[in-house]
Amino acid sequence: MSDMNWSLRESHSFDRNTIAEIRRAAQTGLYRIRGFGAKRQIPTLDDLVFLGASMSRYPLEGYREKCDTSVTLGARYASKPIQLKIPITIAGMSFGSLSANAKEALGRGASEVGTSTTTGDGGMTPEERGHSTQLVYQYLPSRYGMNPDDVRKADAIEIVVGQGAKPGGGGMLLGQKITERVAEMRTLPEGIDQRSACRHPDWTGPDDLAIKILELREITKWEKPIYIKCGAARPYYDTALAVKAGADVVVMDGMQGGTAATQDVFIEHVGLPTLAAIPLAVQALKDLDMHRKVQLIVGGGIRSGADVAKALALGADAVSIGTAALIALGDNDPAFEEDYKKLGTRAGFWEDYQDGSDPAGITTQNPELAKRLDPVKAGRRLANYLRVLTLETQTLARANGKSHVHNMEPEDLAALSVEAAAMAGVPLAGTSWIPGQS
């Protein structure tokens, strides 16, 4: 920018990104499909702070006094609930959208610290089952690779109604990534642009979902927890209806939730921010007297122990991470800067998960690129990252005097903006004012 003419004035309405998109649309005639999550600025958990303890509350001694992080998921109906050592799970990401090495690395990393991973829209691979001590099997509208043997091999079943990146939309996987193995797992011709349905083929609505849950329980002898995952569309009603339909666990995914390939217009313009979604979902559970009985997992833009702690304080039982986990594996690594440049992007900006050319070898089916990711080393990086998130969460919980991370409360928080105060239902910092509440 050294040659910048300071009298040039960029339009706020037609800024460089907008102009680039109009030009792209005019050239291709198709909407933009990309990966990653929402990129524009929205209110987030960053707009909250913990109050900490001092005179009126007493903190726990860091590193010495115990702060429990264990979570049990799915004891409502399942005879074999999921037991996690940490309140952070790995969100569903398919083999197909991710390389086999990336899936293996996720399994290794999560298992090392005692948490679960999740399959995605594309079936269960032996690699991920083998490397995940606790594996959640997604039950999606496409039912790619769905079969009763894998259902029984899973530790829990997650019925996907929607995801944060695209509530109301179906999946998409472009031809570059439909290799022979991916195509075979999905019963599709190689190289096509694969569309996934947005509604399940054999049920619509919570009354019918209740019957679908009955079937899955009958097939798995009532052993496995049933999760229902929704994008944050109408979180209060969606949570209440998931509970009424018989869920053991509700997964609520805010709009920052990532994706392998979705229309940009969906990613940026549909769904509620995670910050706004959590209190609504928690309220629904409380109104049904199901808070802590049906567990709530929150996803969408969780990056740090602070995010984890704030989500738990607002009432979640656990969080899930997707994009952050990929970054921990090596996504957008500056070590591949030259490759990113060749693709017309830069390390840190890479979002074309859909096109299979990932220099880091994660969101690709190209065997040469996939080889770049060492699943053992990447798995260790993920485990390290999960340990940091956990340590940070514990640190914040202890500072607020909690011996279990689930004992953090909204009362331990204050909001830095009026918007965040209204969305989270916590007072604006320095006041007792919660906008919208009398």
């Binding site: 039912r143 009763p148 472009l174 011709p189 096509i192 083929p201 009955l214 009958e218 009532w222």
Partner: protein, 219 residues
């Protein structure tokens, strides 16, 4: 007998191939005889609710009556036969096996099919074989609107009318290999007396396999 007990008996370990079970008075119960995974024979006497014989593997299930939504959904192998009508999404996402419907099938029959075979002696409802990927649907009667919409490599044979095809579904030539397949399926379904040359064959035009601006009207 509670559903769980009935299914536990059918799913239980002590199953010799060909063992025969009869379920009486199903009273429209849901999820009956689902998750079976051995070569047993089950006869259900009466109408069933949703997802009867769901995810079936190896077993042969006969429903003497009508079946509700999603009969034989995600079947892997074996055979499910319904003497009456079936509700929507019959045989949805089935990967294998044979579903025979002696009456009519409602909407979305064979939706997202992944390899199973379905023979319907009556008519099928709208959006049948929507996004079907592999496998075969044979309809002896008429097909409803938008047959085979967004079809992949699955095959459809219709003896009656199929006037309103879905996006990317087209009529294709019925060659000897297809007549052979039809004869085989009709034989298994118990209607060998039907003349296979009366059928029309439908499949994917493959024009929607890749996103192109020319296809925008079809989305």
């Amino acid at each position: 007998m509670p559903l769980r007990d009935a299914n536990a008996r059918l799913q239980g370990d002590a199953k010799s191939a060909g063992a025969f079970f009869k379920v009486i008075n199903p009273r429209g119960a849901h999820a009956l005889a689902c998750g079976l995974d051995s070569e047993i024979e089950v006869e259900v006497e009466g109408h069933t609710g949703y997802y009867c014989a769901g995810m079936n593997k190896l077993a042969r299930v006969v429903i003497k009556g009508n079946a509700g939504q999603g009969v034989a959904e995600n079947m892997m192998s074996g055979e499910v036969r319904v003497t009456g009508d079936v509700s929507q999404s019959a045989g949805a996402t089935a990967h294998g096996g044979l579903l025979v419907v002696e009456g009519n099938a409602a909407a979305r029959c064979g939706i997202s099919l992944k390899g199973g075979d379905i023979v319907v002696k009556g008519n099928v409802g709208h959006m049948s074989m929507f996004m079907a990927q592999a496998g075969t649907l044979v309809v002896l009667g008429d097909a409803g609107d938008a047959l085979g919409d967004s079809l992949y490599e699955a095959q459809i044979y219709v003896r009656g009318s199929a006037d309103n095809l879905g996006a990317d579904c087209v009529e294709k030539e019925l060659r000897e290999e297809h007549r052979e397949k039809l004869r085989d399926l009709l034989g298994k379904a118990g209607c060998s007396d039907v003349d296979v040359s009366e059928f029309k064959r439908f499949g994917s035009a493959r024009a929607l396999y890749n996103f192109k601006p020319d296809n925008v009207d079809a989305y």
